[in-house]
């Protein structure tokens, strides 16, 4: 009886995987990072470990990692000590086993700060939060993004997927319209990318500074003349999970340089 149940469970998982695999608008073999849609100069800038402006934030993040903060005078390094953080960023967004919440890097950092370090949370788009997320993501350079969507994450994944396919704004477009159906084609003078999150936080030319994935999503909403949700909205987080699943297998390349 147990064996039969085990086989049933396996069959169900396989069916789910296959079903999802069939639903990928861009097959794994055709996934392309945003770097593939840059001009040669910006791609060269991203690949220049010294001149990539995002590295200024990565370096700052490295310093902040060891700086004590809050009532307990703890630094990130106090608990994480010599622990390698390689692969950590590539597994986000993920469910915190302790409280069942879906977290991205920003929320995880702030959860650590408020709960363990008893320190003030860092504001979205603050220099410190950008620096820490950039530093952490950089530790996963080259690691394929691999977010899990099973268990408690499944509901968030479904919400994120619905958000990705929802028509919005004056232009009545969904993410899928451009990034699934029209990637590789021209929009005015630019080539539409597949819209992957693997280079974030990224140095965007339009901002002339570093910005988070959430900031980029807000810019997309602005671009299609839709209302921008406030920073920290659950919808962004669920969408981030969907985007991570959608980009599965692409290596992290933070800090990206983007237009």
């Amino acid at each position: 009886m147990r064996r039969a149940r085990a086989w049933l469970a396996l069959a169900a998982v396989l069916a789910a995987c296959t079903a999802l695999a069939q639903e990928r608008a861009i097959p794994p073999g055709e996934l392309k990072s945003g770097s593939a849609f840059l001009g040669s100069d910006l791609r060269a800038l991203q690949n220049d470990d010294f001149a990539n402006p995002g590295m200024l934030w990565v370096e700052r993040g490295e310093k902040l990692w060891s700086e004590p903060a809050g009532k307990k005078t703890l630094a990130c390094a106090s608990c994480h000590k010599d622990q390698s953080m390689r692969g950590v960023a590539a597994s986000y967004p993920k469910i915190d086993k302790a409280n069942g919440k879906l977290l991205n890097l920003e929320r995880r950092i702030n959860q650590c700060r408020t709960e363990r370090m008893v320190a003030e949370p860092l504001r979205y788009e603050s220099e410190e939060l950008l620096a820490l997320t950039a530093y952490l993501a950089r530790q996963s350079l080259g690691v394929p993004i691999a977010a899990r969507i099973d268990g408690a994450a499944r509901a968030h994944f479904e919400t994120g997927r619905a958000a990705y396919h929802l028509r919005r704004g004056q232009m009545n477009l969904s993410c899928a319209h451009c990034h699934d159906a029209q990637w590789g084609k021209r929009l005015l003078s630019e080539t539409i990318s597949q819209g992957h999150p693997i280079a974030y936080p990224a140095y965007r030319m339009e901002w002339q500074t570093m910005g988070s994935l959430e900031r980029r999503l807000r810019a997309c909403l602005s671009g299609i003349r839709a209302e921008m949700l406030p920073y920290g909205s659950q919808e962004y987080l669920d969408l981030e999970l969907f985007l991570a699943w959608r980009a599965q297998g692409l290596p992290i390349e933070t800090p990206g340089v983007r237009r």
Binding site: F50, A51, P53, M55, L56, E59, R60, Y203, Q208, T209
Partner: protein
């Protein structure tokens, strides 16, 4: 102001070495507007100077035409062991400094 300097750690005397510097600074042009329509005041790095063991070997006058988080690469002759020290000032009078040591053999 955070900055990164890249020079070789060591060089032969007389060797021409590459010097690179990247400074974190918005180089605010003075032509942008904030979200309520007010002009954001110009704030750029005006002068950047490099001294090699106290002697100025490179200087640059910059304008708003230099990209944000300015990057400059130039060359200098490795004369003696010591320090390359960069200093810069912006419109608000904020001063920045960063140095890197070099060992010169021969």
């Amino acid at each position: 102001m955070p900055a990164r300097i890249q020079i070789p750690r060591e060089a032969r005397r007389g060797e021409v070495i590459e010097v690179r510097i990247l400074i974190q600074h918005p180089m605010e042009t003075g032509y942008r507007h904030d979200d309520v329509g007010h002009l954001i005041k110009r704030n750029i790095i005006k002068v950047l100077s490099c001294r090699y063991n106290g002697v100025e070997v490179f200087r640059a006058d910059l304008s708003s035409g230099i990209a944000a988080n300015p990057y400059v690469q130039f060359y200098t002759v490795a004369e003696a062991s010591g320090n390359l020290e960069f200093t810069w000032v912006d419109d608000e009078g904020q001063q920045g400094a960063e140095r890197q040591a070099i060992a010169v053999k021969g």
